[in-house]
Symmetry: C2
Subunit: 246 residues, 2 copies
């Protein structure tokens, strides 16, 4: 049986997120599975590198699926892009080794979050960024980023309740760049807990706006209390950029 | 009576274009007039620098209107951005001299056109660019641009039928830049005939793809036959960037 790896981008606006929900037609996984099942005549299930929430976008989500199809990779690519809706685009179709598993084998991910930081909103960026009109001190925010780098228990920066699984993660890169009115956050690390990128971004915004102290970050690492961190910023500013494998 | 100048951006996707059509709610002009009329209690008519076609976007459209309102400029800005749909954003509201007329006083305009030049479409750029997967020779296209620069009768590159008005225009700048898969055309000149930017872009694409000779441009200037030029590329790749005044 072949094991086929897909790399894709999607505009998450119209969808309830990655994960299939019953027979719902409103998920990315569901859309792709139904096109692949029709294409192969088999009942295809795809494994994503991880879920993305409702409204979240991807520029480099990865998934794999098993199939006996005899189609060439380029034919599969063409078929998918012909029959998928235009807001889901398959960028690459590759043959993977039998044991490749898009979730278990992922060793890291990169996410971006975009803030439109201007008194006036943007007609064009509104579906791909969060409009935050307050003044932001980028230096303060960069200082806060340095505190977040490295290996920590991030449970206080996540939407998780108590769990037996490890909530220790490593952030290798956390950068903030401003170009015009757009602030671009880049997160790269070995994994991210549920809503962790959006909660950290919300915390950085409050620190940048001066309504939260820098030391609050140290406190949250100690007391692990989610309520001490910033708000969860909306899904529409979040992009899964890339999934890393060995 | 005050004369107030508006500078605005809009995502043209949902609209039938700039110009009000009867009582239609589907035009940019109509949307802005109805918010202003409600705001002032007067029957407001706005004058745009020119029409934009259905589906065309603007980053710097300019308009003016007369009113007796006593509201401050910042209040007008806030009111408009609160009550207009999110895909129309007013960027500036200014007091203009009594004689300022957004159309008659315009001395030039800049437009952009975007081509997504990749075998694989883009999930994110599809509403703001035209997907053209064929290989393009940028050097050939740049040579063609040089032929179009300057003062010419552009009627063969327009959707106009015979007209008594002058169809002579001057293009001061016509540049083509590629960044990643996106080709960005910039047009700047003293004025553009109906669909001229889209027809020139369609012509440049055929020259770049090698299906049209460079000399065809000279021929169209001579014989003024629209059918010799390229296809009209779709409205969704076109942006009115800026309107120039003295």
């Amino acid at each position: 049986m072949r094991n086929i790896k897909l790399t894709m981008e999607y505009d998450g606006k119209r969808y309830l997120g990655w994960q299939r929900l019953g027979d719902s037609d409103k998920t990315i996984q569901g859309k792709i599975e139904s096109v692949l099942s029709e294409m192969t005549g088999e009942k295809i299930e795809i494994i994503g590198s991880g879920r993305t929430d409702a409204g979240t976008h991807a520029r480099g989500q990865v998934a794999n699926f098993k199939s006996n199809t005899k189609m060439e990779l380029s034919e599969i690519l063409d078929w998918l892009n012909r029959y998928l809706p235009q807001d889901i685009v398959i960028k690459k179709v590759e043959e993977a080794s039998e044991r490749f598993h898009a979730r278990y084998n992922a060793i890291g991910k990169q996410y971006s979050y975009y803030i439109w930081n201007d008194a006036i909103p943007s007609a064009f960026e509104r579906h791909r960024s969060f409009h935050y009109p307050q003044k932001i001190d980028l230096n303060r925010m960069n200082e806060a980023c340095r505190k977040l780098l490295g290996t920590h228990d991030f449970i206080g920066f996540s939407a998780l309740k108590k769990t037996k699984k490890s909530t220790i993660r490593t952030i290798n890169e956390l950068s903030v760049q401003k170009e015009g009115s757009m602030i671009h956050f880049t997160f790269s690390g070995d994994g991210f807990l549920h809503k962790m990128v959006r909660i950290i971004t919300g915390t950085l915004l409050e620190i940048g706006a001066g309504t939260m102290e820098l030391e609050t970050i140290d406190k949250i690492f100690e007391n692990k209390i989610r309520a001490n961190a910033g708000e969860t910023v909306p899904a529409q500013g979040l992009f899964l950029d890339e999934v890393y494998y060995h």
